[in-house]
């Protein structure tokens, strides 16, 4: 019920936020993030391990499968803090993959695959996109041909998040009967993972070339319709990302206000000038709106009726908000905001990249239009 959502964080959720933000402040400083953004495979393994030690990687995976059995609101709290620090860890990819497995796997497959993901030992990602536009997710060009031992996969998946650090990839391919999801080991025969030069290097993208990759029967997630599972996985990703976008926008607002209050020109702080002040005020409104829809989406992801609205709503509002706020943050900083040495560009690139991943904002608005019946 949309009007029954509680927007007030529990004490536990508030403590979780503090724990994660303190951990990241000590272990994932922005200087290191900036340095890592010169690479094509940015990944902080010790931060990943730290999150694993805190049980946060499997936070929303059920306890039966080695997770902590929490809901998406707790995950939202963690993603907001990760977004505020643009931390290069593959948690989003993990959520995409684990949701797909949970939605499409048999009980045996879930029991086999999810615990490794929950513990952080398996770094998993989802590979369903191939083209830059018009991703026909139910008719990928990658094909799965039946063989004696199972399947043979051929094709190329692109724009795969964290492809270079993943050791397990959930790949969509077209079999005779429609789209299927197949679990592929990154080091399997015939698999080549190539880096793409990401606009946002803190979220490395890769290309996965599958050249006659042999897979056993059990590699196919045979528990439930795979096209539905793909949609569920992407929805989970959109919702997790929405909170990440809120965290990033929040950090940009804080950065802008801090600068506006300390940078002097014409004998007074630049924030005392209305043009700058008003830009910051507009940024505040955008952040607060994004926060509301992101939390609403996390709170309603399990409600099939409401999530038809709340998921694309979150994508639409949070993407616009983060892109705008990250851009305005650069503007408030003037010339120094345009330098590599400053942190602003990390967020700006993350914001734009986020708006393009997991389905375009336009496609989500079309979904939203359908859901509200216009």
């Amino acid at each position: 019920m949309v009007d029954a959502v509680s927007f007030i964080r529990t004490d536990e959720q508030a403590m979780l936020a503090d724990t994660v933000s303190e951990f990241l402040a000590a272990n994932a400083e922005l200087d290191r993030v900036r340095e890592a953004s010169l690479a094509t495979d940015a990944f902080f393994p010790e931060v990943w391990q730290g999150l694993a030690d805190m049980g946060l990687i499997g936070l929303a995976i059920d306890e039966q499968h080695g997770g902590a059995g929490y809901g998406f609101c707790e995950l939202a709290v963690v993603f907001e803090e990760l977004g505020a620090m643009v931390t290069p860890v593959p948690l989003l990819s993990s959520v995409l993959a684990s949701t797909a497995i949970d939605a499409a796997g048999t009980d045996a497959q879930k029991a086999d695959l999810l615990p490794g993901i929950a513990s952080g030992e398996t770094i998993a990602t989802l590979a369903v996109f191939e083209q830059a536009h018009d991703s026909a997710l139910s008719t990928p060009a990658t094909i799965a041909t039946p063989s004696d031992l199972g399947w043979v996969l051929t094709g190329t998946k692109r724009y795969v998040t964290d492809a270079l650090s993943a050791n397990q990839i959930v790949v969509s391919a077209h079999s005779g009967d429609g789209v299927g999801l197949f679990v592929v080991d990154a080091d399997a025969d015939g698999v080549t993972v190539l880096p793409m030069r990401s606009l946002d290097a803190t979220r490395p993208l890769g290309e996965i070339v599958l050249d006659g990759v042999p897979l056993p029967h059990e590699a196919y997630l045979g528990g439930a319709p795979n096209d539905v599972a793909i949609a569920a996985a992407l929805d989970a990703g959109v919702v997790a990302m929405a909170s990440e976008q809120v965290g990033g926008a929040r950090a940009c607002l804080a950065m802008a206000v801090d600068y506006a209050n300390s940078r002097y020109q014409f004998g007074r702080t630049i924030g005392s000038f209305q043009a700058v002040k008003h830009m910051c005020a507009n940024m505040l409104v955008a952040v607060e709106h994004a926060r509301s829809v992101a939390w609403h989406a996390a709170s309603t992801i399990d409600d099939p009726d409401e999530s038809r609205i709340s998921v694309p709503l979150a994508k639409s509002v949070c993407s616009d908000a983060y892109v705008k706020v990250a851009g305005d943050n650069i503007q408030v900083h003037g010339g120094v905001g345009f330098t590599w040495e400053h942190d602003a560009h990390l967020y700006f690139k993350r914001a734009k990249s986020d708006s393009l991943l997991l389905g375009s904002v336009d496609s989500h608005r079309d979904r939203l239009a359908d859901a509200i019946g216009i």
Binding site: H278, E288, A369
Partner: protein
């Protein structure tokens, strides 16, 4: 038993008694409101005898809910909003016992309507720059000047007015607050016609109007302090009731879209985007309300008015655009007429074209968007204020125009 629980019991017991004799089809609203006032349930947090029980304001919600459930009349709060919503708080905080005794009950029963006279042609955003003069003459004050954008003036018996009593003081120190009899000699009320053709507001001219000193609220020179109380109460009165999804101007936008029978996807997508922004605002209002009730108000409680104004202009403009050439007509036409506020809450349905015109005022009335951004920037984000050229000068030396 905590004091909150024992207060709740007192409130509910009083409500039980009040509602025991209430018949939705028979009881006269004015009689009911009189009984409600006498039972201390008009503003439950006000002192005993002033229409309250002296309990925590958190119990107001209980009263509202139980009255609504019983079908009791509550439209006095809307029809006499300036008095009941704002003036009552001023009288309780700054008025004498005699003033409260004279004015609070007939305000609540709607026997006397109230208006608020702050803005002037020369004092809008800078209301502290106002110039309406009040000069002492024996035990009366003589008022001269002009007020503008005065809602309900033509129906009001009483008006809350802020005047300039000492032009030699810096602006914030030379003002005095009065309650003025709107029917007195020298008080001239004229409708102020707006771009929609109607007059929701008035101009009020004071021409040697006499106000007894007994109608002065608080000390001479304390006018700004009392005005601040009034404006704070305004925010409480207006703030925080969450509307339902698809209501208001976004609902109209959807209706218009459907009526065009168009399948243009660019338009559909833009409508979905605007719906999403409205929904984000709606959810933020709900979040602000929850946080305020829980005692943890945050910045989300201050952004609503600003966000609403700009978004509503955008939505209504988009709606007219969707209408194509029909958007270049206005079915109601233009008639210069004063808005008649019925004694009941009136659902005024405007054509999309009229909504579009009326929306221009959203970013101006009740605090312009520019001022709202200053407030957000300075009070919420902690950015520095601009250098001021007016604050310390004698009011009479501040440039005006």
């Amino acid at each position: 038993m905590t004091s909150h629980t024992s207060e709740a019991t007192r409130v509910n017991d009083a409500l039980d008694e009040l509602l025991a004799g209430f018949r939705p089809d028979k009881t006269d609203p004015k009689d009911f409101w009189g009984d409600q006032f006498d039972a201390g349930l008009a503003w439950v947090d006000y002192p005993l005898g002033d229409g309250g029980l002296g309990v925590s304001p958190s119990h107001r919600a209980t009263v509202a809910r139980r009255l609504a459930d019983a079908g009791a009349p509550t439209w006095n709060r809307t029809a006499n909003v300036l008095g009941i919503g704002m003036g009552s708080g001023v009288l309780v905080a700054h008025g004498t016992p005699e003033q409260r005794k004279r004015w609070l009950r007939p305000m609540f029963t709607m026997d006397e309507i109230w208006c608020q006279l702050f803005s002037e042609p020369g004092a809008g955003s800078d209301v502290a720059g106002l110039s309406t003069r009040a000069v002492k003459d024996g035990d009366e004050w003589i008022l001269n000047g002009q007020k503008v954008w005065t809602t309900l003036a033509h129906l009001a018996k009483w008006g809350m007015v802020v005047t300039r009593t000492d032009p030699d003081q810096p602006k914030h120190r030379g003002m005095t607050y009065f309650v003025v009899d709107m029917e007195a000699d020298g008080v001239d009320i004229r409708p102020l016609y707006q771009i929609t053709g109607e007059a929701e507001f008035n101009e009020v001219f004071f021409d040697d109007a006499r106000v007894p000193d007994a109608f002065r609220i608080d000390d001479v020179g304390a006018g700004w302090r009392v005005a601040m109380t009034t404006l704070m109460n305004e925010r409480v009165a207006i703030g925080g009731s969450t509307v339902s999804r698809d209501s208001g101007t976004i609902g109209t936008a959807i209706d218009v879209w459907r009526s065009t029978g168009s399948d243009d996807n660019a338009t559909r997508r833009e409508l979905a985007r605007l719906w999403g922004e409205m929904e984000a605002l709606r959810l933020t209002t709900a979040r602000a309300s929850q946080n305020a009730t829980a005692g943890v108000p945050g910045p989300e409680g201050s952004t609503g008015k600003l966000a609403w104004a700009d978004l509503n202009k955008e939505v209504t403009s988009f709606t007219v655009a969707m209408m194509g050439l029909d958007g270049a007509t206005i079915p109601e036409g233009y008639t210069l007429e004063a808005t008649t506020y019925d004694t009941r809450e009136v659902e005024r349905v405007m054509s999309p074209q009229r909504q579009f015109l009326r929306a221009r005022a959203n970013s101006i009335e009740g605090g312009t968007s520019e001022i709202m951004r200053n407030i957000l920037g300075e009070r919420v984000l902690g950015l520095a204020g601009e250098p001021r050229v007016d604050k310390d000068l004698p009011w009479k030396d501040v440039p005006r125009g």
